[in-house]
Symmetry: C2
């Protein structure tokens, strides 16, 4: 439970917009990070009904003390049209998960859902640049992870999803973000792969399956699983038993929080930085 | 500085809408009172620009987790049209300072600005019913105090303002709220008066004047001053030196907080109570 130290008439307001909203964690985690940095600011849940989004959302943006928003399901695509400045990953993905007001009143946005994964790898000291990746699952989370990883410029990205259209979109996105990265669409494998990324739901909750057909994993493989519950998925259990290095879904979740706050504050203060120079 | 203990995706949201917003105290005081009562709820500042109120305000009311609002300058009159159920004092005053969502989705509102004064008198044990009152100043605060005091059914209300239209409106409001109360419009006096209420700005900050032309006050007079800064106004200083009982502006300010929370929660839960009976 977050202890909020700042709340007064002058507090800066941030929000998370979604439908439903009860399950979101940003009010606790992002507020904690904002206040840890000494900001007189907090992030509150803003429950907009999906069928009222277009009527309610533009009005929210006119609240003078609302300085930024986190977007969650089902609004990550629908919010794009209200933004004036799109970041590189948001442009490629056609979706955003964070937007912030600039000093001139315009809104800038980015898709940082996959950045938590990159941050988690960095904090473990595992480089992505030049490596060969296998990414399984290209839904919302997988697409974002793929785009964020592509921006790190791996040598090869093998991608897999049951939906061919998702594979095509992901391949196009990777080529835009990192033209030098080789893209291969195909079945999940660990042959010729340095990093295995699971963003499919296989292994979630009581699902005892692995997301690919293997009995063992090479010990020099790095294995990431986006699943948060359970913390120890069947894939991660196998990876640890084979001596692989691993990165957990929880690390990705936590890794995103400082990136969101970095983005919010950098955009909010852009004018100050310009004026100060 | 309020320590907010509850903030998560399921927290109920309340707001205060005003322009400007930085000076408001409700985010601290009302949040404190909500959380003291064990509510997973907080009240945040919502800065709506005055010239955008009609465009922004109705959309705010569609936030599904927004359960109530405090209204402040300059919106106390303009918010009335968005409310389906008006309380007695709000109806008479044509203004509201609090509105809350009922379980059926409709909004109920009341004008409680003057209720803090009544609460402060109650907490001191000073009855209003049957007493003779002199009220000086019939602006926003004075009008609300007059209406709240009228609802306590004093025997006589003498009222004074430099603006004759305000005197007429106040006299009409008192007659609606308490037909048995005698209303007299005229110059400030303490002759035949049990309770003296100052709601004029005379005596505020560095103003050394008294709001009425007297050298001394009867020791059995009860004297209230709505002014918060300074805490000890020239009128209250004279009253104390004459042995009068006094009620301070700060007591009125604090007295309003539990009344606001009472209203918010009672309206929010109306359906529960009905279903439970």
């Amino acid at each position: 439970m977050t202890q909020v130290s700042f709340l007064n008439g002058g507090s800066r307001l941030y929000g998370i917009v979604g439908d439903p909203i009860e399950q979101v964690r940003s009010p606790e985690t992002v507020t904690w990070e904002l206040q840890r940095r000494g900001e007189d600011a907090l992030l509150v849940p803003l429950h907009v009904a999906s069928d009222e989004f277009e009527a309610v959302f533009p009005a929210l943006l006119r609240l003078r003390n609302l300085h930024g928003l986190v977007l969650t399901i089902p609004f990550k695509q629908r919010a794009v049209r209200y933004v004036q400045h799109l970041g590189a990953q948001a442009s490629v993905m056609g979706a955003i998960n964070v937007m912030a007001r600039r000093p001139d009143g315009s809104w800038a946005a980015e898709m940082l859902d996959g950045m938590g994964c990159v941050t988690a790898f960095r904090q473990r000291g595992y480089a992505i640049a030049g490596k060969r990746l296998m990414l399984i699952g290209l839904g919302g989370a997988g697409g974002a992870i793929g785009a964020a990883m592509a921006a790190e410029h791996p040598r090869l990205m093998r991608i897999h999803d049951l939906d061919p259209a998702r594979c095509e979109r992901m391949a196009s996105a990777i080529r835009l973000l990192s033209p030098e990265t080789e893209v291969v669409v195909g079945e999940p494998t660990v042959d010729g792969v340095d990093v295995l990324l699971n963003a499919s739901p296989v292994g979630m909750l009581d699902d005892a399956r692995l997301p690919l057909n293997v009995q063992a994993l090479p010990s020099d493989l790095i294995v990431f699983d986006a699943i948060v519950k359970p913390e120890q998925t069947p894939l991660l259990a196998l990876a640890e038993s084979c001596g692989c290095r691993i990165v957990r879904g929880r690390e990705m979740m936590l890794g995103q929080i400082p990136r969101i706050v970095d983005f919010l504050l950098a955009q909010n203060r852009q004018g100050e930085l310009v004026r100060a120079s």
